[in-house]
Amino acid sequence: MTCRAVRRALPLLSGDDLAVRKAARVRAHLAACADCRREAEEYAAAREAVRKLAREEARPAWTEGEWRATLQRAAAAAPRDRRRMPRLRPVLAYGLAIAVAAGGAVAVLRKGPRRPPAAVLAKASPSPAAGFIGPVLRRPAGPHLTTITFDAKAGTIKVVWFFNRDVRTDFFGK
């Protein structure tokens, strides 16, 4: 190892925080390099000096009364049960999905199939295919249901289009 690489590793070596193999390589270099060894000793001394200061320094202490009062205050609060706390993200995601689906369904049901206005029907092609008579517009069961009928000019085929505002279904039949 070069001196430069070793010196980069010295801060961690001083607290024995290097990986075992790297520490061994650094120590091998220190055994042969007086300059790096001196720097390593300085790191160790500085670290130990601060730790010593910290140990010797007066620190605040709890009085018995303060300690007991704190424990009582802590234990007076109800501990939060993890099982009673549902995780919010899945709940929000499901809620949002349900709201979007419900909103879409309501919009579709409220709108319903569009009823063709009479003017449009009047201009429309007279029949779904050549040879039919129509269209004949009827409202057999009130404003919600509209039928348009085409009768074949020859034969018995009849095409009936149902426009039901409440039910989105088309019927074809004679």
Partner: protein
Amino acid sequence: MDEREKGLVERILSGDRAAFGPLVEPYRDRLLGLAYRFTGDAEDAKEVAQETLLRSFKYLAHFDVEKSFRSWLFQILVHAARNHGARRGRAASLARSEPAREAALETASGPEKGHEDGELRSKLMDCLDVLSPREREVFLLRDVEELNVREAAAALGSSAVSVRVHLSAARKKIRRRIREKHPEILGGDRP
């Protein structure tokens, strides 16, 4: 986590609140000491340590008994100290002014002892003040409170690599500061 602590946690979770005292008693002084180093003020330290104990009881059901209770407790303390610092409108690492510190210590332990402690504290704070907040947290947990790198990483909610990087930078800065300002403390000599 040792069996004793595991048993105490289970007792608390099953409703025996009196088991909380024995669970946290071994950390009584260390919690307050670490809070003091983070806040730099005895009253603030007590507030932070109290908040730590309140939260640890409240969220004990969230604690994974396979992990270290000490690291978990220190993790709560680190968060409480950061929040406290933010509430105070200053970095959690900033201590009070020097005269205020010395006055507080003199009141607590008599003028002579207070002066001596004030001098010690002054040197210690001078060394710590060159560190960034994160370097300071890492240095205090690893070198002063003697948590290992993994425990310190767990307490800080960061990776072991990040802890090593900050620890290395902190030790470099402290060595430089001692060489420049307090060479007399190297070798254990007290002025």
